[in-house]
């Protein structure tokens, strides 16, 4: 069943592949970063077409927004130019090829794309979508329901991850001579 969705699907996938290869091959680091942003945009678009708007939303915000800014910040701090472009190295390529081949081998028994009989769609029964209307008293967004309630504990872990990352970044980059015991490592660098 090839329809317009398939066409969009193929087109976005092709663009994704092209972007990924470009990132791998482009010389300028900043350009690689920008292409990573593009990659995020594209994958978000594809996620959207795969009925995952929440993920698309997040991926766009994170991958294309925050991550790009962070990468550029780092690049500004470390110097723009990559000194030596890595030559093609056969060993990593071999590793990657083998890994990829194994994965492809693994796909052969997978339920096909969009197959309604896939275990993912058959189990648990009733599905989250069916249940959540009762459980959540009419909360429309099932993803939110699953995220915050059914798997709220995961999300708490996620919050903890973010908090950990914040703490980690401050720990790593705070000035050592900072005499202030409390918060804020960078306030005295005004001007």
């Amino acid at each position: 069943m090839i329809n317009e969705f398939t066409m969009i699907d193929v087109a976005i996938l092709t663009l994704l592949a092209a972007t990924a290869v470009t990132v791998a091959r482009i010389r300028d680091l900043w350009a690689a970063i920008m292409f990573t942003g593009i990659y995020s945009f594209l994958s978000a678009s594809w996620m959207l077409s795969l009925d995952a708007p929440d993920v698309a939303f997040t991926e766009a915000a994170v991958g294309a927004g925050i991550a790009t800014v962070l990468f550029l910040c780092t690049l500004a701090l470390t110097g723009k130019n990559e000194k030596r472009f890595p030559r093609f190295s056969p060993v990593p390529f071999l590793v990657v090829t083998i890994t990829g081949a194994v994965l492809v081998y693994g796909t052969l028994d997978m339920p096909h794309f969009g197959d309604p009989d896939a275990p993912v769609h058959q189990y648990p029964s009733p599905s989250f979508v069916e249940r959540s209307q009762d459980d959540m008293h009419g909360l429309p967004n099932v993803v939110t329901a699953v995220l915050a309630s059914y798997r709220g504990y995961d999300t708490m872990g996620e919050t903890a991850v973010i908090f950990t990352a914040g703490t980690a970044v401050i720990l790593i980059l705070r000035k050592e001579e900072d005499p202030d015991d409390k918060a804020d490592g960078s306030e005295e660098e005004a001007a």
Partner: protein, 183 residues
């Protein structure tokens, strides 16, 4: 390898290709920032893998439009499942051209009368063929978490790279090695 198989799996394969591109960037060991970029791409592609799993043909995003949600009453939880199902089934997204009113009315009437007799031909034609199926929300939820984990890792990695650059004066793998060897 049949065409059907190819069509059913090519999405996975491209995603695998993307993953491996990212993985290659990580392990080809050049610039540290580039490694992190590779890591980013690798992870993003894994997100794609998950999202592909959640997709169901002819499905739609697991956000139940408020109008439909309103049809649910929180009180009659007893029969709620059946109602919800049929209310959804009443509408067919993929047949926009058809005059929507009649079959829905039919279906709804049928349902209202004989919820149990769903197997009856008339209603069956409406319900089974193409109800709005919702894609699985669980992969989305997992990936929301994974995205957060990914950006957290990226942030920490970049912070480390800044420190390394300040201490070593370079972020190239081989130069760092050289500096280390000298000292």
């Amino acid at each position: 390898m049949s065409l059907e198989q190819f069509l059913g799996l090519y999405n996975y394969w491209i995603v695998i290709f993307l993953m491996m591109t990212g993985f290659y960037i990580v392990i080809s060991r050049g610039n540290l920032i580039r490694s992190i970029i590779g890591l980013n791409i690798f992870q993003t592609s894994v997100f794609l893998l998950y999202i592909t799993m959640g997709k169901i043909s002819g499905g739609t995003a697991p956000i139940i439009p408020p109008a439909l949600a309103a049809a649910h009453s929180p009180h009659d939880e007893h029969t709620l499942d059946a109602h919800g199902e049929h209310a959804l089934n009443g509408h067919s997204v993929d047949e926009p051209g058809a005059a929507a009113g009649e079959p829905i009315a039919n279906g709804a009437a049928e349902l209202a009368e004989h919820v149990e007799e769903i197997a009856e031909p008339v209603s069956a034609a409406v319900t089974i063929a193409d109800g709005p199926i919702y894609s699985n929300p669980l992969p989305s939820v997992l990936m929301l978490t994974a995205i957060v984990v990914g950006i957290a890792t990226t942030a920490v990695a970049l912070a480390l790279i800044v420190r390394i650059r300040e201490d070593y004066g370079t972020i190239e793998e081989d130069e760092i090695l050289a500096v280390d060897r000298r000292s």
